[in-house]
Symmetry: C2
Subunit: 211 residues, 2 copies
């Protein structure tokens, strides 16, 4: 049983979070999902409802390496709130510590910029939202950003392109951890036509056109 | 500005709710999203976090037709919790009243069975989750259930197939209400490869094989 930390912050993008969580929830014997944020309680999505955070960054920091930061997977969404969170030291410091312990770190959309600002993506290949690609690259030039990518796997990092790309990334993570049949089952149960090729990115062209 | 009631109940399916809400949230000048449930406060998703309900069914009932039930669109998710909610008179009665007032009613997955049990789908064409198709048909034989359908539009009802099909249904609703360009923009921003043909349903075969 792997514990997943789903990171919340004000104005996170709904589908960035809930697309991957839907896929992970298919195999409920394999994963336990915990929501983590700066403070426990409601955290409002961008243009949507509030999700309840069950755990705070401070609780992990207080409990330290003995009992805190006991996450096997991290899921970092993007969204409008990223523009504020890139200057939030408590989130970035929590990320940096949590990534150091986790087996895998995943991000969707501009969530990868938070990882970059936490200093853990330097020199790594990664991707991000194609509608915000050039802004992200300018913010974090030491990451090896990939424009043509539905998602990028590099070592312990699975970073995905924007919003719905997180679903295909989560299926790739499921294949990596639980095997190809488990990934196909999760896609079929979600009635999702899977894009299983990380280089098949129809939205790279949008970014190119806007670049 | 149209008001959307996103219906919550214990063990709703995460992506059923958040896929369509993601699409609707793209056009934030066009829609306002309100979460509604039996009681206000946290409502846990199936295998996932809790979403906060902002309004209760009883509040609408108490305020009656003067100020209650002021929703233009309804979004009814499915999920494991449907097996309990089909016997919940307060949810079914709220649905029946809310549908009577709303411009459009949408459902994802087995959410359409809740509409059927509320008595509003009799004689209508509708669809549902393909993994649960035969169970749903047995539960509500007076609905004209469509097996081969990503979603079905019939009058004021847009019912979709399982889980991720809600995203394509919400894009069809967006096209219906705001035009084709608004739907394409929403799909592009979500980096979602749209299935714009309601009869293109790769998962009907799964249901056929299991039937």
């Amino acid at each position: 049983m792997r514990k997943i930390a789903a990171v919340l912050f004000e104005d996170f993008e709904m589908l960035d979070l809930y697309g991957p969580l839907e896929i992970f929830s298919t195999h409920r014997d394999a994963y336990q999902i915990v929501t983590v944020a700066e403070t426990t309680g409601p955290v409002r999505a961008s243009g949507g409802p509030a999700t309840l955070a069950e755990r705070s960054f401070a609780q992990d920091v207080e409990q330290g390496s003995d009992r805190g930061f006991d996450y096997d997977l991290l899921l970092v969404p993007g969204g409008r709130g990223v523009r504020t969170q890139i200057d939030n030291p408590s989130l970035l410091s929590w990320l940096s510590q949590a990534v150091g312990v986790a087996e895998l770190t995943t991000s969707v959309c501009t969530g990868s910029l938070l990882l970059a600002k936490a200093g853990v993506l330097n020199g790594h290949r990664a991707t991000t939202n194609k509608n915000a690609f050039d802004w992200v690259v300018g913010q974090a030039p030491d990451v090896n950003w990939q424009r043509q990518a539905r998602w990028v796997e590099d070592g312990a990092f699975f970073t995905s392109s924007g919003v719905s790309a997180g679903i295909d990334m989560a299926l790739a993570v499921t294949e990596h951890l639980l095997g190809a049949q488990a990934a196909q089952d999760a896609a079929d149960i979600a009635e999702h036509v899977r894009n299983a090729d990380p280089r098949n990115d129809p939205f790279a062209a949008i970014s190119g056109a806007r670049a």
